[in-house]
Subunit: 397 residues, 2 copies
Amino acid sequence: MSDARLTLGTVGAPSRGFPEAEFATRTEKAQALMAQQGLHGMLLLTEPEVRYFSGFHTLFWQSPTRPWFLFVPATGKPIAIIPEIGAELMRQTWIEDIRTWSAPAPSDDGISLLTELLSPLAQSGGRLGVLKGHETNLRMPLGDYERLMSSLRGMEVADATGLVRALRMVKSEAEIEKLAHICGIGSRTFGEVPQLAREGLPFEDLFRLFRREALFQGADDVPYLVGGADQGGYHDVISPPSPRPLQRGDIFMLDTGATWDGYYCDFDRNWAIGHADDASRRAYDVLWRATEAGIEAARPGTTCRDLFHAMQSVIAELDDQGGDVGRLGHGLGMQLTEWPSHAAFDDTVIEENMVLTFEPSLSYGDGRIMVHEENIVVRADGAKLLTQRAATELPVI
Amino acid sequence: MSDARLTLGTVGAPSRGFPEAEFATRTEKAQALMAQQGLHGMLLLTEPEVRYFSGFHTLFWQSPTRPWFLFVPATGKPIAIIPEIGAELMRQTWIEDIRTWSAPAPSDDGISLLTELLSPLAQSGGRLGVLKGHETNLRMPLGDYERLMSSLRGMEVADATGLVRALRMVKSEAEIEKLAHICGIGSRTFGEVPQLAREGLPFEDLFRLFRREALFQGADDVPYLVGGADQGGYHDVISPPSPRPLQRGDIFMLDTGATWDGYYCDFDRNWAIGHADDASRRAYDVLWRATEAGIEAARPGTTCRDLFHAMQSVIAELDDQGGDVGRLGHGLGMQLTEWPSHAAFDDTVIEENMVLTFEPSLSYGDGRIMVHEENIVVRADGAKLLTQRAATELPVI
């Protein structure tokens, strides 16, 4: 046995879940936007959306077997159409109308229940919102979706991505409290890395120690952990760890998405083992200052494009190509990455209470890449860090 | 800091990844089936399918922002159409034709690359396989899919779910080795639970201790952990943990999907704290014997329906309704749950080298539910356990 001591667990943790008023407010805001956009209902299929409007929270979504549906009507509470296995948990939420079937049932996985629910909409030529846009997916069998829609002729299907995106991008104080808590856990975990990492340690074992430390510090889970390590800089930022032992002269990076009560932190840290080469130190300094430029520029009324340019103008000191990541940060919340994107294509206006990452990256040397990331909340007077700011110089272990 | 000792990490671990021949064999088998079914290509979008044919393995799929595509042609190696951020990692695989774009790019997230690739198929009236069937989803924006398909008129789209399912359900020896390894890690972790759990321990903290133990025992990750705990039996099998401390008389269950090199175990264990009530002991005994009946019945040539009835006939001693889970086990591999289902609707014929779970469940008492689960591989002469068989009687801590 390894270690049966209590973890720091619930120390300093906010309360779990949300008061019913949070879901009522979210639903009312959605319904106001639906009315503006002429939507008579919204059919949601994806985990964050179902959780956002219902509070239904389970890891069971990892099983791809069963589809789950939440219908947001023009007025009143959402209606859940879900597999029977989820009924007990759904009854703990504010949802009252819960319609279930014994799933899996390949011949009818909720389709007749949906047809019954949506037929009035079809008969009146109504307009149904579904998520069809950027960063969304269809979490049900495509064949079932096509059959459902062909049985609902007369109903217009509209893309509700913009509506849901507008709501979810701006966080409530209760959401920000959860995000601040997990960012604190992540910061304390990164703070322990100099005690965990050392020359000779297999990189994959550092991943295990990091995950164990994050759990000790109070994370519920560490769903996302990637990194890179190599002499004079790493080459890739999305790989699983190799068994290669850390060596003197390695630059290594860990990037984690840890969760607390279903909310993510998403940031990374860089270190050198024994010795940091000049090129990596320079890259680190540029990225640190690019992040600072992003933090300073973030306030209500600016755009994601502005934030991108603020960071990119510093990155350009070393790399004017822009790197492979495709953007310099993004939204953060119930998902590891959420809308918007700090990119030239994204003219989203920054609003108070958005939670964002700044994630400048650059290429340098012989195919090296470096990334740097912090998490912030936008307040009326500017960005407030949720993460403990990285050291100003590349730390050497 | 909690614990910087080395974990058991790589002790006894098989080698990571697969030799190139594994991917060549998978692709050739797919292409033989494609020829039989008149498919001129297959477009795959989901993590397990892309990994199955390419070896591309990253947790980055957790970010919903970018779509990923792998095209399996009628002959030759698959072609990757992926965001630039994944190019370096894809180049480590056996894939040679890697076409990238700078993603995210909401106006064209791979669509023009796909159109270019698939246009010849459309012009010749060819037939493209995509996954549209049970337990699949469309991991790209629905709007982009609709636009892509409308630009490829002349091309017939067919459901390739059966084809992919037939391949993935039967595991190679290298896959079975990985599955056996993670099942062993899971078994050792469950073996430590009597040292981790005790009266007064918040249930959510037991989850943290369990995850830490699984990592210590060598798991790469513990993406799935659910459970239940309550006096005289739990009510729900998919919930996140409550902060409620364990009490004498509680029956509690932990169900985990831990991973090693991208392969899952999926099984659970039950315990009592201090005292086990008679109804729970009886339920446990029935489920243990139902599992045994499934294990005994599993051999090449039987069907999933047969396995369902073998288990259900034992469960019927206590519960002839069948419970809420909807099936009594399923396939296991790169996903927590895979085809087939041990259910009355599933007439899949059991084949050698399928890896399966047996997961009988029942309702008892005043709305209690109990589940029991083991993982096996089907060999020519019957089932071989990958998990260390649960105790014959409900263990009391």
